[in-house]
Amino acid sequence: MTTAVAGPRTRAHSPARRPGRERRNRGLLGLLAWLCGIVFFLPFAWMVLTSLHGEQDAAANPPHLAAPLTLHGYREFFGSGTGVSPWPPLVNSLTASIASTVLVLLLATPAAYALSIKPVRKWTDVMFFFLSTKMLPAVAGLLPVYLIAKNAGLLDNIWLLVVLYTSMNLPIAVWMMRSFLAEVPVAIMEAASIDGAGLPTVLTRIIAPVVMPGIAATALISFIFSWNELLFARVLTGVVAGTAPVFLTGFVTSQGLFLAKVCAAAVCISLPVLAAGFAAQDKLVQGLSLGAVK
């Protein structure tokens, strides 16, 4: 264990009481943390393993851990058996997630600017208005949205989801972006404009370097939430604009074995979120807590 590394920092000022026992406790707690990590990871690992098994082996009881690995489930996901391609729903999901993320950033960044660098009057009230919209369950607006979309001929249209996902993520983005923009050094900014720098220069030279990581994190979180959404996608789309989560629910069949196939599909559809989430790991908390925790 790494007591040698941890020692100087954490025990620098504390008297070395019972060093042997403390070292052993430290080791045991580290082991316990590892054990918890593995327990939480286990269902996911099982999903990946099952996705790589044949359908017969996947449905074995007791589980057949060392069964031969195959990509059969993944081939099925890509339509080898049924001829149904997963690409239309995946492209729909990508369109909805990316377009709404772009829209979110376009709306949130200026708004956050007006809430931090040059704040409007009562800017905290505005912040809490944004937050309160996030606290109201989306399901409450589902029916009117459905009726309006139906009358406007927008049902089964991916751009309807783009608008809804934008409204879903905008409050989070405004809060996150504000907390990043608040770190912009205003004194330097003012000095630069006194020295004759125009707005473009200030934006690219002073604001952008500080804010770019924040924009990236905001984009990733907005992407994750849009990609995951099921309820609106299910109610408001059909065969044309169905998204990946809706497509995934269709893999469960009443006949025959489907476990490996479903697991393969679940892994494939989760991959973009896992990638985005691990990339934004450090900023994840800040986004999920709406910028309240750093």
Partner: protein, 330 residues
């Protein structure tokens, strides 16, 4: 943030947040600059986002509110009209709908409390240094990054399934170790449906709680803790009198945000049990009343009730966020 009522000049008014955030040095940096059109120039970047949010989220809710007082079933379009409070009285007298109300409360409370407790334990474990801490953290947040529908399908078919799920598979394996060919094979989803839904959600939400609490633990001032240790405080005393009071607001925040998200849960209930066996929560009830029974009036009344419940939670959540927020911007 308190509004600076003592200041009178409009430009100082506008600069107040800056002054509070960055301290007096910046506030006194420039002379007061009266700008007649400044206010609107400042507001302009904010307006698109604000208008968008009002149109897309607030107006539909007004629609829901109006429809909730109407008699309107899409399967019976001729019989449409004002219904007064009858949708609400149905909601509170129909046993099935009333059970969706209690299910929401029980489901949310149990998921939030259990994952909060587990998250606290994990955050405390991860707050100390050990080999591979970063990797363990990554392992722990994985459940949160699986697409919720995928996770629900995983639990339903790969874990809970009575014939080939991992839970019963493991039971068979353990029993076979002792030479028994007759292991118990419970049907988890139909025997304890609520627990099954809760377990899958707890798996998903514990990482969320852990991340917030870990951030809280790591923002704790270390010098105070070390001083306490020098003075001979035990680990328990440090936790009880230093860590816990510091962590309290983070616990509140995690619980409230978790509640806000879990109250709205639809994916797990929809996928695992399709709302059967007493697991239908309010979002699922709204969905099925609207999408399957086509009773628009009733569905809207349910929507309004979800909102009222959420406002109660949100009021506390907003207060907690605002106290953290005020501290940060101070």
């Amino acid at each position: 943030m308190s509004t600076p009522s003592t200041t009178s000049s409009p430009s100082r008014w506008l600069r107040a947040p800056d002054a509070l955030r960055r301290g007096p040095s910046v506030a006194s940096a420039g002379p007061p600059r009266p700008r007649p059109r400044g206010a609107w120039a400042r507001r302009a970047p904010l307006l698109p986002a604000l208008v968008f949010m009002i149109v897309v989220t607030q107006l539909p809710f007004v629609g829901t509110l109006v429809i909730s007082f109407m008699r309107w079933n899409a399967l019976d379009p001729g019989n449409k009209g004002f219904a007064g409070l009858s949708n609400y009285t149905t909601e509170f007298t129909d046993p099935q709908l009333r059970s969706s109300l209690t299910t929401t409360v029980v489901l949310t409370a149990s998921v939030v409390l259990v994952s909060l407790a587990l998250g606290l334990g994990l955050a405390l474990l991860l707050d100390r240094r050990f080999r591979g801490r970063g990797l363990v953290r990554t392992l722990l947040i994985t459940p949160f990054l699986v697409v919720p529908v995928a996770s629900a399908l995983l639990w339903k078919h790969a874990l809970y399934n009575a014939e080939y799920g991992l839970l019963n598979g493991s039971l068979s394996w353990v029993w076979s170790l002792f030479g028994s060919h007759n292991p118990p094979q419970p049907d988890w989803l139909s025997q304890s449906p609520k627990l099954a839904v809760e377990a899958s959600l707890i798996w998903q939400w514990t990482p969320f709680m852990m991340l917030i609490l870990l951030a809280g633990l790591q923002s704790r001032p270390t010098d105070v803790v070390e001083a306490a240790r020098v003075d001979g405080a035990t680990t328990w005393q440090v936790f009880r009198y230093l860590t816990f009071p510091h962590l309290r607001r983070y616990l509140e925040l995690a619980a409230l945000l978790g509640t806000v998200y879990v109250v709205q849960n639809f994916d797990a209930v929809f996928t695992l049990t399709s709302g059967g066996l007493g697991t239908a929560n309010l979002p699922y009830a709204v969905y099925s009343t609207f999408y399957q029974a086509h009773d628009y009036g009733q569905a809207s009344a349910e929507g309004v009730i979800v909102v009222v419940l959420s406002i109660i939670v949100a009021t506390f959540a907003l207060r907690t966020v605002s106290s953290l927020f005020r501290e940060e911007t101070r």
